[in-house]
């Protein structure tokens, strides 16, 4: 008797148990609940700093969609985020923690810029096509390096890809100050602006990157869901050993997928330099690679959901840019709100996989 009482005492107040897999609609419901709670939490934050949360939220939404120009701005922010998130998705599906989207975007930008700067006499379509491919190759190679070392020596990919971000970033710095320095800008370190020939065309007032992004949503969706490659990626992601027993060439799959993951991020770099900035600068990625990781994860690696989340995040970013003039608040509000949303959704994901069990009463 005393023995069983002892056991009750030792059982913790709350314990965690695994849940059976739950339906998609329930998962969606939980995510929406998390989102709602995050918005409330953000509202409390705004209240605490003495603002009317309804007014602020309203301004954010209005600020992002109030005019044609604003909408174009929102879409412009969304393009690289969307493309890079899609790239990340491939790697993360394989549980290859590619934190290097930032570097892969940059490398794509560098490779594309090379042709934009030195081959701008080529016919427009051909030049852009070459830049597009160059961007893919640049980003792809930057993704392939860590994959090679991971498969060969088991080098930690998280840390490796992280380091490569900075090597890429300072390569731009090197090019800006050295070999690609714009001679017309005298002392100021800057790379020359692309000639109009090397600039991405506009469709409905925004550079064609948005169309590329939408096509990629479809391509990545099909690639993951309906191709042999996609199947192999998910098996490797579930268990490397299972994949091996099934006779899959895990090394090849890993390297191929990382090349593609990097290549897609490289496309984001290409559209940034040739569609948005018209030059290569240190801000070409500007943290998009990191945000893309959170977007991809938040969307549960589903390309269609990624599209929705990207639009949401871009709206937040664009909407917050008017905070300064409207409320005297910093545009950095978007970082805080993004963080709150992400923390809530990350934490709530727990309830799709586990449940808490309360300690039963004394009778048990």
């Amino acid at each position: 008797m005393s023995n069983s009482e002892d056991k009750i005492k030792r059982e913790p107040l709350l314990r965690v148990a695994k849940k059976a897999e739950i339906s998609v609609s329930k998962t969606m419901g939980l995510t929406l609940l998390a989102l709602a709670l995050a918005i409330v939490a953000g509202g409390i934050f705004l209240l605490v700093i003495g603002q009317n949360p309804f007014k602020v939220y309203g301004t954010i939404v209005h600020g992002a969609w109030r005019s044609k120009l604003a909408i174009q701005g929102t879409i412009k922010i969304a393009i690289p985020l969307l493309i890079a998130s899609l790239g990340i998705t491939l790697a993360f599906q394989m549980k290859f923690w590619n934190i290097g989207a930032e570097g892969q975007i940059i490398m794509g930008g560098i490779f594309a810029s090379y042709f934009a700067l030195f081959f701008d006499q080529l016919p427009h379509t051909i030049l852009l096509l070459i830049m597009f491919l160059a961007g893919m190759v640049g980003g792809g190679l930057w993704g392939l390096i860590p994959a090679y070392f991971k498969t060969k020596f088991g080098t930690n990919e998280t840390l490796f890809t992280l380091m490569l971000n900075y090597i890429a970033l300072y390569t731009i710095k090197f090019l800006t100050e050295g070999p690609w320095h714009d001679p017309e800008s005298s002392g100021f370190p800057k790379i020359a602006s692309f000639t109009p020939n090397a600039r991405l065309d506009k469709i409905f007032g925004v550079h064609a990157g948005w169309l590329i992004g939408l096509i990629l949503v479809l391509v990545v969706y099909i690639y993951i869901r309906f191709t042999k490659h996609g199947y192999e990626i998910s098996v490797v992601g579930e268990s490397v050993n299972t994949a091996r027993y099934a006779g899959m060439n895990v090394k090849k799959i890993m390297m191929r997928t990382m090349f593609l993951s990097g290549a897609i991020c490289g496309i984001a770099g290409m559209t940034q330099v040739s569609g948005a900035a018209y030059t290569l600068g240190e801000g070409v990625a500007g943290g998009v690679g990191f945000t893309a990781i959170t977007v991809a994860w938040l969307s549960k690696l589903n390309p269609v959901v990624i599209l929705i989340v990207t639009v949401l995040f871009s709206m937040l970013e664009k909407g917050c840019s008017v905070m300064q003039s409207a409320f005297g608040l910093s545009a950095a509000t978007s970082g805080i709100l993004q963080g709150i949303i992400l923390f809530f959704v990350l934490a709530f994901d727990f309830f799709t996989r586990y449940r808490f069990i309360l300690r039963k009463g004394r009778k048990a």
Partner: protein, 316 residues
């Protein structure tokens, strides 16, 4: 000249040492926190804000440490209790922390009507002055014993953390949790508690690194855009370079600090190396170290085995 260079290297390496020591404590308990940059930014703001209003160095450091702990607490709740992906949670903390620092930094500038400046008395409390007796020694006195007080604090923290990690029972428990949480759990260690304690402690130390950046590197003036500027990420790199040992991180931070100031000391008419190369060097070397340790397949000096994987009892 060379002496000045070494002196500047130590000064530049100190915030990295804080960040690295903090991250080592976190990673050794089996959680990789990529939010160092964010925690540092929050620490930088809180340290400056408190110093600006109270004029007390001790309170400023305490506040920076405190906000680091709070930031790490968010991370710990999300990853340890709610078992979310550590990489994503860390990156989120970076986004959040930078947003937090910039947001309140701008508000502080707005209130002060310009860049806020620390008081003369406060600056005196963090000025570089020779220590009694030791500071009067030739050469060494200037090089090692004439720093601002935070430099000594960073080394003290690093040494204490190493002793704690390698020479105490609690430290052993913590390393066991980081390497193999299931085995640690089986021996009766409270895995969750151990993780929480060290993640929080690590976050606090990172916060101190942020305070160093805003108080010392900023020269007493708040700079909203470039206060942290990637130092948090360099700290994460330095963890690898120091092979997860805070004492090695002391020397590592000196080397990384040296790289960051090298470009100002290399005679331009003798050697012409692009500036970008100096700043890239720490990352290149870290990558090499990462590859070499993985090639040697040595457990020693590589990332704790449990790092990045959340522990769930029923899955062991």
């Amino acid at each position: 000249m060379f002496l000045n260079f070494l002196f500047a290297s130590i000064k530049a390496g100190t915030p990295l040492l804080f960040g690295t020591t903090g991250e080592i404590m976190t990673e050794k308990t089996g959680n990789i926190n990529l939010g160092v940059e964010g925690m540092m930014f929050m620490g930088a703001f809180m340290g400056f804000y408190t110093g600006y209003h109270t004029g007390s160095l001790a309170l400023a450091l305490l506040a920076a440490f405190g906000i680091g702990v709070v930031a790490a607490l968010i991370y710990a709740v999300v990853t340890v209790t709610f078992m979310a992906n550590q990489n994503v949670a860390g990156l989120t903390l970076t986004i959040f922390g930078i947003g937090f620092g910039k947001f309140f930094g701008e508000a502080m500038i707005g209130k002060a009507g310009g860049s806020p400046k620390l008081s003369e008395e406060f600056m005196a409390s963090i000025s570089e002055k020779p220590l009694p007796v030791l500071g009067n020694l030739p050469v060494i006195g200037k090089l090692l014993f004439s720093h601002n007080p935070l430099v000594y604090l960073s080394i003290l923290v690093a040494v204490l953390c190493t002793i704690y990690m390698l020479r105490t029972r609690a430290g052993l428990n913590m390393r066991a949790v980081g390497e193999n949480p299931a085995a640690a759990d089986a021996t009766g260690i409270n895995v969750t508690l151990v993780k929480y304690i060290h993640i929080l402690l690590g976050g606090g130390i990172c916060g101190l690194g942020g305070a160093y950046l805003s108080l010392i590197n900023g020269g007493g003036i708040w700079n909203n855009s470039s206060v942290v500027n990637g130092q948090g990420w360099i700290s994460v790199a330095l963890v690898i370079f120091a092979s997860w040992n805070p004492v090695k991180a002391i020397f590592g931070s000196l080397i990384f600090g040296a790289f960051s100031v090298l470009q100002f000391y290399v005679p331009k008419d003798v050697i012409v190396i692009p500036n970008a190369f100096y700043v890239m060097l720490p990352f290149l070397i870290t990558t090499m170290v990462l590859i070499i340790t993985s090639m040697k397949k040595s457990k020693e000096g590589s990332q704790p085995a449990g790092c990045g994987v959340n522990y769930f009892r029923e899955e062991r």
